[in-house]
């Protein structure tokens, strides 16, 4: 039976896909309710690390530009104490803090998503079954991509496509096999949720 064969990751080894998803879902409110900006930035770094443990590549420059651009756009709506002026623009404390909060929140949510979702996660029902078929074919297309040549692109694509999908052909089942969560996985889940939720109640907003 063909399966989704990917390099095993640290989180993939210890978590069943639905448990990893549940952990991420429970981390989201703990992240959104966090009142302290510095703690929130720390959480973003933790989630980025977890995303790497889940086999995801973090494009730091992309996320840096994301936070910067959200903050800059926010500065155009000034409020609060004026920190300094750049030409006609007054940089205010309120707008700066609000921009940073928004930027890190957006990026943190992406990292939670990257850390908690694995391709093996099965959606329920017939739609979930169809997604399974999509992944089955995707693995096969990826295997054939080395045969695609920039010169004679359409001809080489045709060759690969003929091999992969001929209408009316009997096809194999592409279901993937998911693992169970290990004891270490459950323990890690408990620690992650406890720390992040306790911080919601312990941390206070920054004094400025």
């Amino acid at each position: 039976m063909p399966t989704l064969q990917r390099p095993e990751t640290f989180l993939g080894r210890h978590f069943a896909p639905h448990h990893l998803f549940l952990t991420g879902a429970l981390l989201i409110p703990a992240f959104l309710f966090q009142p302290n900006l510095l703690v929130r930035i720390g959480q973003v770094l933790l989630f980025a690390y977890l995303a790497k443990m889940n086999g995801k590549r973090i494009k730091w420059m992309y996320f840096l530009i994301m936070v910067s651009s959200i903050t800059v756009f926010n500065l155009f709506t000034p409020f609060g104490q004026i920190l300094f002026t750049v030409g006609p623009l007054s940089v205010t404390l309120g707008a700066l803090r609000s921009g940073l909060e928004k930027g890190f929140t957006v990026v943190g949510l992406v990292f939670i998503s990257l850390a908690s979702i694995r391709p093996e996660l099965r959606l329920p029902g017939r739609l979930g079954g169809l997604i399974g078929r999509v992944f089955y074919y995707f693995e096969r297309v990826i295997e054939g991509r080395k045969r695609i040549r920039p010169r004679g692109l359409i001809e080489s694509l045709d060759e690969v496509l003929f091999d992969l999908y001929a209408p009316g052909e009997k096809r194999a089942d592409g279901r993937s096999v998911a693992k169970d969560t290990t004891r270490f996985g459950y323990a890690l889940m408990g620690v992650l949720l406890s720390v992040n939720w306790v911080l919601v109640f312990l941390a206070s907003p920054l004094p400025f």
Partner: protein, 188 residues
Amino acid sequence: MNVHEATGRTLEAPNRTELLEFVAFLGALCLFFSTLEYLFPKPFPFFRLGLANLPVLLAMKLLLPRYVLLLVLLKVLGHGLINGTLASYVFLFSFGGSFASVFTMLVMHKLAGRQISLVGLSVFGALASNVVQIYLSVTFIFGMTAWVIAPLFIGLGVFSGVLVGLFAQKFYEQSRWLEGVRAYFAAS
């Protein structure tokens, strides 16, 4: 109901399972083409060429609208699962942009029929996708000031729409595989 342009025969196969299998295969091609995006240099960090829309464009000429919509749903869900962005704003943008694009293309295809090429459909789809994504970014992330980047992104969207549309049109006319698929569904 879609009709084969050359033969005039309906393209709806009587076997629904076979059609769903074909939609799943096209969904896999969407994911594959989105992985090829990274091979092309980006003039701006948020710019995407939209190669994943190639199978959707071809599906406009092959499948009934409900199957095209199913294909787009599989595309955005599959992309969200593979890249792990299913629970983030990226998914919201992808979902909003993709469905705005496909609804616009379906309406244009219905209204203009053979008068509109895949290049035209692609440009309309890219425009709709970009407008919705700019609206979402203004509403949820950047605020009203982000409208200043709208002309640039819409211009880039038209440019990428033309490129993807040109390739789709060429593939539609020259691919022997696609000809085989069309003939099979027409004969079923």
